[in-house]
Every structure is written in structure tokens, then in C-alpha cells.
């Protein structure tokens, strides 16, 4: 069984230093529990006395046994060893993973929303800026700085295989960094309770070799492909009428800012922040009745006619 969110092993630069500490504390913890368990059970079995037949207490001499306090000092002294080791190791790991990378080659702005992730690249760079959602592409082997902001409630950014959590708190911009050592798709999830659909607020980090990342970035920079077919044009009209208040499709009049940018919708693998796989069937179901798939989601159900839905889908399917 695979555990995409498991953090007993990792592929990030931070995992390389944190995971050994995690394992160390885990093994110490298990060892301590076993030792104490054995001491309790052994002590009880070795020292116990039977109750009398009448069920009353046996007539035992009650006495002070000498030397009991020694148990405490020896026990505490032994306990101090792993405690202090953990303390020192913790501070060392903190010193290594805590500081942010200097001059990071890539900075990504992530706005956590209810209940999806708005991802911005190239902020402040003329002609380099674009937005996408829920799928974060990064080049392998370089530290990436994340600027985390929220405009609604508190969320927490977490991609376990790449590193620990950083809360996303409205009113402040928290900084974090990730670095993937190997290419791959790494699942993440909101980790701070944020309302109805906290459960369906996943994201994915796609770590790619630099050339592949660059190709992806260039593709994302482009506007949406023009609608050429008649159904595509009708679909765009539906999008303008029904989607434009919240969604944006660059290069068209669809320019909302409250929901995921759809310019290159079909380049992403999931919809609804990891709720459904991104395929035409799921897309239709999602557009028609998002409330059934993700109850409480801010997108209302769209009462589209069959023709409208088919047109819209024909248009969206080309947003590669």
C-alpha cells in the first residue's frame, strides 16, 4: 500500500535532515514505552500476592522499603540522555532547515483559498507572470521560495514528502521553502482546519528536470488557445456568461479573480483541488453539480442545458 502523504521517508532537501531526527525520536519513544511496559508487567507479576479466599486483602506487613528513591534518580538520569540528545539534535536541524535560501532561483506566490490553492509565478516580472491552481511545478534540485498568503481563514501548506507544514495566516505573509531532490509528483494537503471542505483541499507539487520545467513555464505563459470551432465559440460564450464572475481565462473576456485560473485547465491532472481526476466526464459532472461532489464548495451548481454543457466542455477541453 502506498502512502502519498506519509513522511517516514521523503524526497525533499529538508527531509534529508529532518527524517533521521524523526526516526531517532520515534525509536527512542518506542524503546521507552517497551521498557516501561516490561518494568510494570514484570514488577506486577513478580511481586504480586494472591487475595485471600474470602476476597479480602491478605494480611501483609506494611513497611517502608529502603532505597526506593534511587529508582527515581537513576531513571531520571537515564532519561536525560535521549532528552538532551534530542534537544541538541533539534536545535541543529532547526539551524539547518529553518533559514530561508538566499537568492532563490524561483519564488512562487501561493494564496490559500477556501478550498483550493491559487498559485502565482513570476510576480513582478514583466511578461513572466501567470497563475494556475492546485498544481505547483518546480525544477528539481533548486530551493524554491514560497510566499504564503491567505485572504480568508487560516490554512496550512503541507507537502509531506518535501517537508513540514507552514501555516497560511490572513494578515501576514509566511515564507517557506521546498526543494525536491528527485523528480516526481508529490501530494500535499491543507493541514489546518478551514471549514466545510478542509478535507478536499489537496495540491500537488510536480518536480521536473529544469528543461522540462522551463517548457511547462513557457506553455503556461501563453494565452488560452482561440476558440475556432463553432461549438468552441458557443462554449466560450457560455463561459463568458456563466464563469466570468469568478474564473479567468487569459486572452478572453473571462476575467474573474475569485476562483482557479482556467487558461490551461487541461494541463492539470485534477479538478476541485484534488477532488476528481481531470477528465471530460468528471469535468461535466463537476460543472453541473459541484455541490454533490464537494458539498459547501463556493462554486454554485450550474443549471446548464445539455447543449450548453456540451459546448462549454468542447471549449474547455482545448485549454491545454
Amino acid at each position: 500500500m502506498s502512502h502519498p502523504l506519509g513522511y517516514l521517508s521523503g524526497s525533499g532537501a529538508a527531509s534529508a535532515t529532518v527524517t533521521p531526527l524523526l526516526w531517532f525520536t520515534l525509536i527512542v519513544s518506542i524503546a521507552v514505552s517497551v521498557i516501561i511496559g516490561v518494568l510494570v508487567v514484570w514488577g506486577v507479576l513478580k511481586r504480586r500476592v494472591a487475595r485471600t479466599e474470602s476476597g479480602g486483602l491478605p494480611d501483609l506487613a506494611i513497611a517502608h522499603a529502603e532505597g526506593g528513591v534511587r529508582w527515581i534518580w537513576i531513571g531520571v538520569a537515564i532519561s536525560m540522555v535521549p532528552l538532551l540528545a534530542t534537544l541538541v539534535w533539534t536545535v541543529a536541524v532547526l539551524a539547518e532547515t529553518g533559514p530561508l535560501p538566499k537568492n532563490p532561483p524561483l519564488t512562487i506566490d501561493i494564496a490559500a483559498r477556501r478550498w483550493w490553492w491559487d498559485v502565482g509565478y513570476g510576480s513582478g516580472l514583466q511578461g513572466q507572470a501567470f497563475r494556475t491552481a492546485n498544481e505547483i511545478h518546480i525544477p528539481v534540485g533548486v530551493p524554491v521560495l514560497l510566499r504564503l498568503a491567505s485572504r480568508d481563514v487560516i490554512h496550512s501548506f503541507w507537502v509531506p514528502k518535501l517537508g513540514g507544514k507552514m501555516d497560511v495566516i490572513p494578515g501576514q505573509t509566511n515564507l517557506a521553502w521546498i526543494e525536491a531532490k528527485t523528480p516526481g509528483r508529490f501530494v500535499g494537503q491543507c493541514a489546518e482546519f478551514c471549514g466545510f471542505q478542509h478535507a478536499h483541499m489537496a495540491l500537488e507539487v510536480v518536480a521536473e528536470p529544469p528543461a522540462q520545467f522551463e517548457a511547462w513555464r513557457r506553455a503556461q505563459l501563453g494565452d488560452a488557445p482561440a476558440a475556432t470551432s463553432p461549438e468552441g465559440q458557443r462554449g466560450l460564450a457560455v463561459a463568458e456568461a456563466r464563469c466570468a464572475r469568478c474564473h479567468a481565462i487569459r486572452g478572453t473576456p473571462v476575467r474573474g479573480g475569485a476562483a482557479p485560473d482556467l487558461t490551461h485547465l487541461m494541463s492539470r491532472q485534477t479538478i476541485g483541488a484534488g477532488t476528481l481526476p481531470n477528465n471530460p466526464g468528471a469535468l461535466s459532472g463537476w460543472i453541473e453539480n459541484p455541490q454533490a461532489v464537494k458539498p459547501g464548495v463556493l462554486m454554485p451548481n450550474q443549471a446548464l442545458s445539455g447543449q450548453q454543457l456540451a459546448d462549454l466542455r468542447a471549449y474547455l477541453e482545448r485549454l491545454k
Binding site: 502523504l5 506486577v44 513478580k46 529508582w71 529553518g98 482546519f193
Partner: protein, 655 residues
Amino acid sequence: MTPPAPAAAAAPPVLRTPEVADVTPDLRERLQAIWETAPGVRGWLGSVDHKAIGIRYMVTAWVLLALGGVEALVMRLQLAGPDLTLLSPEQYNQLFSTHGMTMIFLYASPILSGFSNYLWPLLLGSRDMAFPRLNALSYWIYLASALFLYGGVLVGAAPNDGWFNYPPYAERAYNPGINQDVYALGMILLGISTSVGAANFIVTLFKTRAPGMSINRVPIIVWGTTTASFANLLFVPAVSLAFFLLWMDRQFGTQFFKPAAGGQPLLWQHLFWMFGHPWVYAIVLPAMGMVSDGLPVFCRRPLVGYAAVALGTVSTMMLGFGVWVHHMFATGLPGLSLSFFSSASILITVPSAIAVFAWIATIWLGRPVITTAFLFFASMILLFVIGGVSGFMTASVPVDWQLTDTYWVVAHLHYVLIGINVFPVVGATYMWFPKFTGRLMDERLGRWNFWTMFIGFNLGFLPMHLIGLWGMPRRIYTYPASMGVGVLNMVTTIGSFLFAIGILLFFWNVLKSRRSGAVAGPNPWDAYSLEWSVSSPPPPYNFAVIPTIASRHPLWEDRLQESDERSNLDQGLLLDHGKETLATTPLDAEPDRILRMPGDTMLPFFLAVALTILFTGLLLHNWWVAALGALLGAFDLIGWFWPRRKLFEREPAHG
């Protein structure tokens, strides 16, 4: 001023030196008449007897434990497999929040208040708590706040932002219903109960111990409850303030936690956890005290390292005041401050280790007699250590960045709260039930009870650690199969149902043994502390004469032979001029003065009613109702503080 009216001459002389007397049947009869609660509704609503109040606390807390348990079972059904749809997201969110609120605020602390209320005066050789009416008030307000909060639950306005209720989600913009208003006001109301109860415990400890019971002779549970009470007095105001500010934000447009207008969501987290972490110790330290006092009885020897354990109890709380930020490691605070809080959180393990090794040494150097109570106490040591080490891991900041907000933390906190609170409490019930009722609980059923709870609990919550390590976040109403945690969640659900059966067996045993348990006699366990020197159940006045104490183990002195001094339980100060008990000096417990204790009165009950009306008015924005509640409360307090000659402890100054 005129001299006292002739009618006052009937009141007892204010200054006198009580004589030393033997216990006689005649004396018992007189005291019974003085202390007995009147029958009927008036007596029931008006009783200020700490034993009646203690039992009420326990019964109410157990009812709430059952409610919180049912909430948990419904959640476990929803989580038994991936993508289940038994509950809607909002239903789930209200359930987990209500479950947390119930267990942490309405069960875990009140159950310990119940035990301490019942036991303290008996342990300390006194006749009641220092402030009996305040004690009754503390209970009635607890009941009122429980009804207030559950009133919200019944109308579908349960809290829905978790028990720690972070804004801005708790703010009106995201949470428009009255859910959060009920929670905020209910918590402020409960805070009054906790605060007055804490003040009462502290004064009771320092003023009403029997002569000779110097501070180093009190049972460990007294240390635990006292420490918890100091923490409550210091930090309940922080959380009451936080909830008040939240309510202001929601109702009057203040901006304390709203970032758009310069408010600071993190302010809530600081205020909450500044209270919240000490609170965790407050709901385990008295329970650890139960184990420290209970194990020696069944191991047939005094506790090893009394002084170390007592000081460990206090120092846990001292350190506990400085660890709250470990709930906020992932909020983006600077690394240097994280290091301090990380270190403190790692070092707080030390006083806990002292207790653990003291208990183990007590077993190894004693001769354990295996009773159900002993099984609960001894197994608690293991559960305590598991809950402790999993907490120690979260104290390491970089490790916590992974562990926090996953099921690891859920597993950890259940080992802490069930392992260190529920297990000792059930064990303590087996131990002290004979004192409460005069009858022993069924030992055979007790074994079934213990093993079902122990196996069910570990089956349910041990795998949860792994669920956490595999990355399942807490507080999600469902999870996809791809997360790979379906099987273990099913195991957890099965374990939690087994655990629930264990709790039912416990309730069944209580109900059954109350009627048909074997008659216990005063001291069925041949235990050492004062409460076992009086009949089971104790008479309303507890002690016919105030005993004199010479050691930590008054009933074991002849066998321990620690010194030549002996406690005197059959002869002591005669206090029979009305409801009286003895005040002693804070550290050495030398007789100080006679305390005139108030009689039964319904004033505390009515004050709780008045406060409930006030808070309901505030909730509904009905200022007339609120004003009525405030007015009734004010009248009640006038009655409460009206000078009564029979309560005078000094002759009033004349002229």
C-alpha cells in the same frame, strides 16, 4: 451603636477555645441534626454538602462523557472507510468540535472536581470545603454552562471550528450562525465555575487541614488539584477574555482577530494556548494524584519518593506555563523563540519521569494485590508513557512540522486524556466507590470492564499513530482511498466501539453495585488515609471530632513504625455549636480559629439561574432579558453577603 440585641444572645459565643473530647453517640446525634441536609426539593437544591456536590459533579460529568462518546462513535462510523457519506461536512465539523468541547471542558476537568470535592475535606480532616456556598455555585454554574452549550447543540448551533476555535473562521464573515456565540458565551460561563472552584480548593488546602497535617503530609491528589487550581486561577481569565473578544468581534464589529482591519488572528492562538496548555496539565495532575495515592494502597507500602512526586507535580505546572507556543510551531514565529519553547517542552518530560519511576518503584518495592482499581492504576503508567513520548516527539520543532495537525496528534492527545484521565478516574471509582456508597463494586465484572477498556483503547488508538505518520490530517470528514489509511481506520473504529463497550460495563457495574454490591465497611482496602477512618458513606459532618494528624499515613502508623507519634482520630476538638469546623495555619496546620460554616441555601442555585438568564439574554441580543438576569443576580448576591450573626468569627466592633 446599640449593644447586640438580646435575641443574638442565643448565637454561640464568638471567641472560645474548644475542648478536647471523645466521640460519643450523643455527640454524633447532635452533629447529625446540625449538619444533615433537609429532605425534599429545598434540601436538594440547597445542599452545600461537599459530598453531595462531589457526587453531582461526577454524575453530570459521566453523562457528558457518554454524550461525547456517542459523538465519537458516530465520527468513527463516518471514518471507518474511505469516501463514506454518513455525515455531511458541517455535521462532521460540529460533531468533532462538540466532542472536543465536551470531553475537554465538560468532562475531564469537572470529573476531577467531583472527586476532589468529595474527597478533599475527608482527606484533610475537615467538615466541608472552605466556602461551601461557593462550592455549590461552582457546580450549578457548571451544570448551567453544560445545558447552555448543549442547548446550542440541540438546535443545530454546536461549535464547528474545533475546540480551539481559531478565528478568522470563527468570525461572523465565515461563520454567520449563532454557533460561535453559544460557544463563546458558554465558555465564559463555564470559566466562572472553574475560577470560583479553583479559589475554593486553594483556600481549603491552606486553611482547613486537620491540626498536625502539615503541608508535607497531604495526599498527592491534593497537590495535583491545588496545582491545577492555581493554573486555573491564573489562566482561565486568558481564555475567557479571548472568547469575550471574539464575541465582541462578532456582535459589535470590533476587530481583535480580523486581519482586514489590523486585527491579529495569532492573538487568539496565544491567548487560547496560554490557557490551553496549562489546562491540559490541570486535567491530568489530579488524576496522576489518584494513581500516586491509590497505588500504595494496593502495593501495601507508602509511595516511593513522596517529596519528589509532590514537587514534580508543582514543577510540571511551572514549566507548563512556558510551553504554549509548541501548539504554534508552524505559524511562522521566529526560530529563536521556537528553540526556547522546544527546549521547555522537551524538559517538561523530567517531572513526569519522576512520577513514572516513583510508581514503578512502588510496585517493585511493594507487594501488589491485584484488584480492578490496581489494574487501572498500573496500566495508566504505560498509557501515560506512550502519551508522554508521543508528546515529546512533537516538542522537537522540525519533527512537529510534520506531526502537527495529523492523526499523530489525535492519537497523542487521546493517550493523554484517556490514559491519564479516564483510566485513573475509573480506577479511582473502583477504589472510592465503597466510600461514596457503602458498597464495593463487583470485581468480576470489574475485570471484564478493565480488559475491554484496555484492549479496546489500545486497538483503537495505537494504530492511529501510524495513520498520522502516513499523513492523514486531522479534522477531515472523509479521505480518499489513495491515502492508504482505510484499513487502519477500520481497526480504529472497531477498537473504539470495543472501548465504548468497556465504558458501558463500567456504568453497568456502578449501577448494579450501588444496589447489590457487598457491604464495604469503613476501610475495605485497609488503606492509610483519613477518609477511610470514617463510616462508608461518611456522616454529613465527616468527623465527629477534629482529628489530630502525626504522619502521612494516619491509619498505617502502628505498622509503619516511622516514629513514636500517633495521629489521634477518636479524640479531638469538639466543635458542635452550630455548623463549625477548624481553620489551621497554612503550612504547619496549627489550630487557628473556629470557622462558622453557612447552612444549606438555594442562593447559589438561584445565582446560577440568574446568570443563565443573563447569558441567554446576551446570546439573543435581548437586553431586557439580560438586564433581568443581572438584576436577579445582584439581588441574590445581596442576600448572599447579608451579614449573619451566626457566621461571625469575630465579635463585631461596637461604637
